[in-house]
């Protein structure tokens, strides 16, 4: 780890100010991605701004027909939350299966989506549940948030404040874990809401994406039969030592069916 200045501000404004003033500032959430990167000397920020002292980034609440999760909320809390469990059980279930117990108690939703790992779980929830990401500058629709491999719509020093998930009628998540990392090799969130059906896929491509063909099929017939004959094309999907694009494409179909079964 290279040396850096450490800050722990207590408000968003203060955090933004420090980041803006730093030569190369970077926010720190749970640190489960950032700290290993620093330890391996893959990044050399001048200033690290720890967000853990900012009260407005924490906690889970209900606002109208949505569940709002603060950026600094760890996965374990999302899993435990009675609000999440009763309103969006698929989200609570997703959170329960991220990493291991230590990861779930440190890793945060803000850190996860800001990092935009192509094989992270939460992107499937943000897109699949048509969430809105609130930052210290604006609101970004879930569909517009993830722009590519480890890339998001966030501007420099823009901070995720919370994620607002509209409560769906039904939703289910199924994950095929990579045997080594246990990140999703393919994770599928299916959801049915007033404004339509969504099928969001993470882990399979360079960034989370929607399987529109399946969405259309399910819109008219919410059942496994509707997607039984569909198969996703392997074109453009990830291929690595763990799984070929073809296998990932196949798993999208299987996981979609399992997510659907979980959604009921």
């Amino acid at each position: 780890m290279y040396d850096f200045n450490y800050h722990r501000p207590s408000s968003l404004e203060e955090a933004a100010k420090i980041l803006a003033g730093a030569e190369e500032g970077i926010p720190l959430a749970g640190g489960h991605t950032l700290l290993p990167t620093l330890k391996q000397r893959l990044a050399q920020p001048s200033d690290v701004v720890d967000l853990s002292g900012i009260a407005e980034l924490k906690g889970i609440s209900e606002a109208g027909n949505a569940v709002v999760v603060g950026a600094m909320t760890p996965h374990a809390e999302v899993n435990r939350s009675q609000v999440v469990r009763s309103r969006i059980p698929a989200l609570a279930h997703m959170a329960s299966d991220i990493g291991d117990s230590q990861v779930r108690h440190r890793g945060t939703i803000g850190g996860s989506i800001a990092n935009a790992d192509p094989s992270a779980d939460y992107p499937a929830a943000v897109v699949g549940l048509a969430a809105t990401v609130k930052t210290n500058k604006r609101e970004i629709a879930g569909d517009d948030f993830f722009t590519g491999l480890f890339e998001t719509a966030l501007e420099e020093h823009e901070l995720v404040v919370s994620v607002s998930f509209p409560v769906p009628e039904k939703a289910g998540y199924a994950k095929f874990a990579n045997p080594a990392s246990r990140y999703p090799m393919v994770g599928v969130m299916v959801a049915k809401a007033a404004d339509g059906v969504r099928v969001a896929v993470t882990g399979a491509g360079p960034s989370v994406f929607r399987w529109t063909e399946a969405e259309q099929a399910l819109a008219s017939n919410w059942s496994a039969d509707a997607i039984a004959g569909l198969s996703h094309s392997p074109d453009g999907l990830n291929s690595d030592i763990h799984a070929s694009a073809e296998y990932r494409a196949h798993l999208i179909g299987v996981m979609a069916k399992r997510a659907l079964a979980a959604a009921g």
Binding site: F176, P179, S181, I241
Partner: protein, 787 residues
């Protein structure tokens, strides 16, 4: 009566300190004034070094010294030796290219040691390493072992990258047998390369004392005396009397900590170079992946011939084994004397021929890893037998039974050099079949199929050879060391006992098991026995722990030392009770005059030995005996493991539905520890068969599985609850009748699991049976069924 003797399921006494964070590992040790070493490693797999410019690094903040291979060369530092000379088919010794702790001309794998930076802090050492300028000419990387012989040469003195082309057995006799065969089964197998992944990464502190001119080396070693011998006699040219090696608590080794490595050598050497400050190095996990000696990595073609009745007529095995970029300490012996000699398995196969070619590649060195050669042999034999049964429509269990060596055939001379002293294979098979409900498998398969799942069952009737010995024989086969063990049993005046053993415990529970043996043998309370190991300054010269040798060899040395204690004690007891020595009987800690009720307790004798006021003439005071034990033969644990799997054809996920193991380890001292060893072994074997794999990029030689993000380690939820039992045919040639249990699980498991998976799939696949491979095979199987 002894409190806690042989056969008791005692919880391991060492676990209290391990589980409460009070274990003391090498990295927990901090020496006064210590400096930190960081190794600049080669970023490429194969390159000729043109220059290593260390000037900027040397003047960086906190830097004490920067060393390269040139500095070591100037100082006369030697090469890390390979301690086993394998003689090839033409009578020539294997090619033994030099393995310098810091490279001199070329870097030969990603992670090879280019320079060593020593600084006041690790951070400063790393900062300085960033400033070293490397100028090198990159050469094509040799990665694929089957192409190694036709690729660019890695070492000047190893043409075709061939280390040796070795054979065992009678090739002509095997050809004859095959000519008469009713059926021949042929298989191509890959034994996948593994990273050992001990929980504690390697670490070392080298410390030279300018006053006494003595070195102290703290190291994560499985055999501190061997490390001392290699450092002194081969690499650094030091008197052993001036070097003390301490291997304190060591968090797992699995073979990877047997070897002498560049890092501990360099730390020891460098401490003197910088004037005597201790130099500490601890591997991070990434370095462990890159530079620990890896395991396995064979490609094999094998054939088994049967007569019309199903009797094995002969076996042919052709293996190419990867040595990596350099020969690690015992690399050459693993695919030869620890592999081909086991190809008879539990069977009466009359003729066997094995040809093994060992090649160099631009990958980390490969050496012994839990089982070392024997898992590879079992994998060949047990996959062949299973496939043979399928091809000929025979029941795999009955085909094995038919070919088992029968109890009355022992001692049994195999066609591949070993002579098994004893074994009784059918009871293990019968018990295992009963435990798994072999007869009910068809029903369970039908139930799985009704759920859309595939089900398979697989056996592995493994044998291993433990406690490699005797010294004269291994010497004649090329070993550079003796393979005996030592023990000192020292009574203290107040009746407690300190046992100094040459075995080293790094997870095996010796502090418990050995104390049970001594408590039973001497009839004293278990709590009065202390086991000391891992310090050349405290124990007699010993050979350490590997190859499941500790109890069979080290335990036998302890028993011999106890015998000497008893012998001497009898003299003292006879004197105290005014009886003839011949009339003294020893039982349960009491010396009794035969036929009387006169007796003396062990503790009284010990006290008398140290306070010899009333003492026999001509007997030395003290009760402190040392014994060395050189076994007459290997021991031959054997058993049967049965795995049952259920496969989800939609995803390719394999679930292990059940696992039974029936092992014959001879006599068992502590069943709890033995079961733990079996569980751990199975876990590692399952890891190999199901998910573990070491992948180097075929073009660049970069390690693609260099962290747990990509190298899959088995976790608890990969396993069912194992059901393990034992049978006993006691070893005939050691005093405890024990055989060894540390590797059995890892030896038996891969074949059992792959036999089960391929049974379910009806298609051959190689390890690891990753979900994608299994899915593809399941799809082709289902397609075939549909057609």
């Amino acid at each position: 009566m002894p409190d806690s003797g042989v056969g008791d399921r005692l919880a391991r006494r060492e676990d209290k300190r391990f589980l409460t964070g009070k274990g003391r590992y090498t990295d927990d040790i901090n020496r006064h004034g210590q400096a930190y070493a960081y190794f600049l490693r080669s970023p490429v797999a194969h390159a000729r070094l043109k220059s290593v410019d260390t000037a900027a690094a040397e003047s960086a903040p906190g830097v004490i010294a920067v060393f390269t291979g040139k500095d070591m060369e100037a100082d006369g530092v030697g090469s890390l030796p390979c301690g086993w000379v394998v003689t090839d088919r033409h009578g020539n010794p294997h090619k033994a290219p030099p393995h310098f702790p810091l490279v001199r001309d070329k870097a030969r794998y990603v992670g090879d040691h280019v320079a060593m930076v020593i600084a006041e802090s690790l951070g400063q050492a790393k900062d300085a390493a960033d400033l070293i300028e490397l100028d090198f000419e990159e050469l094509p990387a040799v990665v694929d072992i089957m192409k190694a012989r036709g690729s660019g040469q890695i070492h000047d003195d190893a043409p075709e990258n061939l280390c040796y082309d070795w054979e065992l057995g009678d090739s002509a006799a095997v050809d004859e047998a095959f000519a008469k065969a009713a059926h021949v089964t042929k298989l191509d197998l890959v034994n996948n390369r593994l990273v050992p992944n001990a929980m504690e990464p390697r670490a070392a502190i080298g410390e030279w004392d300018p006053g006494t001119e003595e070195y102290t080396v703290y190291s994560t070693s499985q055999n501190p005396h061997l490390l001392r011998l290699i450092l002194c006699a081969f690499v650094l040219n030091l008197p052993e009397s001036k070097v003390r090696v301490i291997a304190p608590d060591v968090g797992g080794g699995f073979g990877s900590k047997i070897f002498a490595y560049a890092e501990e050598t360099a730390c020891t050497w460098a401490s003197k170079k910088i004037g005597g400050r201790p130099v500490k190095w601890t591997a991070d996990r990434g370095e462990a992946f890159l530079s620990d000696a890896h395991g396995r990595d064979h490609v094999t073609h094998c054939e088994l011939a049967l007569d019309a009745d199903g009797r094995f007529l002969g076996m042919k095995v052709d293996t190419t084994a990867n040595m990596g970029a350099y020969l690690s300490s015992f690399a050459t012996s693993v695919p030869t004397y620890l592999y081909a000699t086991l190809l008879a398995g539990q069977y009466t196969t009359p003729v066997i021929y094995a040809n093994v070619k060992a090649v160099f590649t631009n990958t980390a060195p490969v050496d012994a890893y839990r089982g070392a050669g024997r898992p590879e042999a079992t994998y060949v034999v047990e996959r062949l037998v299973e496939v043979e049964a399928r091809e000929t429509g025979k029941d795999p269990a009955e085909l094995r039974r038919l070919n088992f060596i029968k109890p009355d055939q022992f001692p049994y001379q195999t066609p591949v050099a070993l002579q098994y002293d004893i074994g009784d294979y059918e009871p293990s098979l019968d018990k295992a079949l009963e435990m798994i409900d072999y007869k009910g498998f068809g029903q369970r398969k039908a139930e799985s199929e009704a759920k859309g799942k595939l089900r398979g069952i697989g056996l592995s009737a493994y044998i291993e050879a433990c406690g490699i010995a005797p010294s004269a024989v291994v010497g004649s086969l090329g070993a550079g060391v003796g393979l005996w063990e030592s023990a000192t049993v020292r009574f203290n005046a107040t009746g407690t006992v300190s046992v100094m053993t040459g075995s080293h415990s790094h997870g095996q529970g010796h502090e418990t098991t050995f104390a049970q043996v001594v408590a039973e043998k001497l009839g004293i309370p278990y709590d009065n026995v202390e086991i000391v190991h891992g310090d050349t300054g405290r124990i007699p010269m010993g050979m350490g722990t590997y190859g499941s040798r500790s109890l069979a060899v080290g335990g036998s040395a302890i028993v011999k030392a106890c015998d000497k204690i008893i012998e001497k004690s009898k003299k003292i007891a006879a004197h105290l009770m005014e009886a003839s020595e011949a009339d003294i009987e020893f039982k349960d800690g009491q010396f009794t005059v035969a036929g009387t009720d006169k007796s003396k307790a062990m503790a009284e004798i010990a006290f008398t030995a140290y306070v010899p006021h009333n003492y026999p003439e001509g007997v030395e005071p003290g009760l402190d005996e040392t014994a060395f034990y050189d076994p007459l033969n290997f021991t031959y644990p054997a058993g049967v493991h049965v795995a049952e799997v259920e496969i989800d054809p939609d995803t390719g996920i394999t679930t292990i539905a059940d696992w039974v193991a029936v092992d014959d380890f001879g006599n068992v001292i502590n069943p709890l520890i033995v079961e733990g060893q079996v569980h751990g072994g199975i876990a590692q074997g399952v890891g190999q068969a199901l998910i573990e794999n070491t992948v180097y990029d075929r073009e660049t030689g970069q390690l693609l599985t260099g962290s747990y993000m990509d190298y899959a380690m088995p976790r608890a939820d990969n396993f069912p609850s194992f059901r393990v039992e034992t049978t006993v045919s006691a070893c005939t040639h050691n005093p405890l009748g024990v055989k060894g249990c540390g590797e059995a699980g890892a030896i038996a498991a891969p074949a059992a699991l792959m036999n089960a998976i391929t049974d379910a799939l009806g298609v051959e696949i190689d390890m690891p049976a990753t979900p994608e491979k299994v899915w593809r095979a399941a799809q082709s199987r289902l397609q075939q069924a549909a057609e």
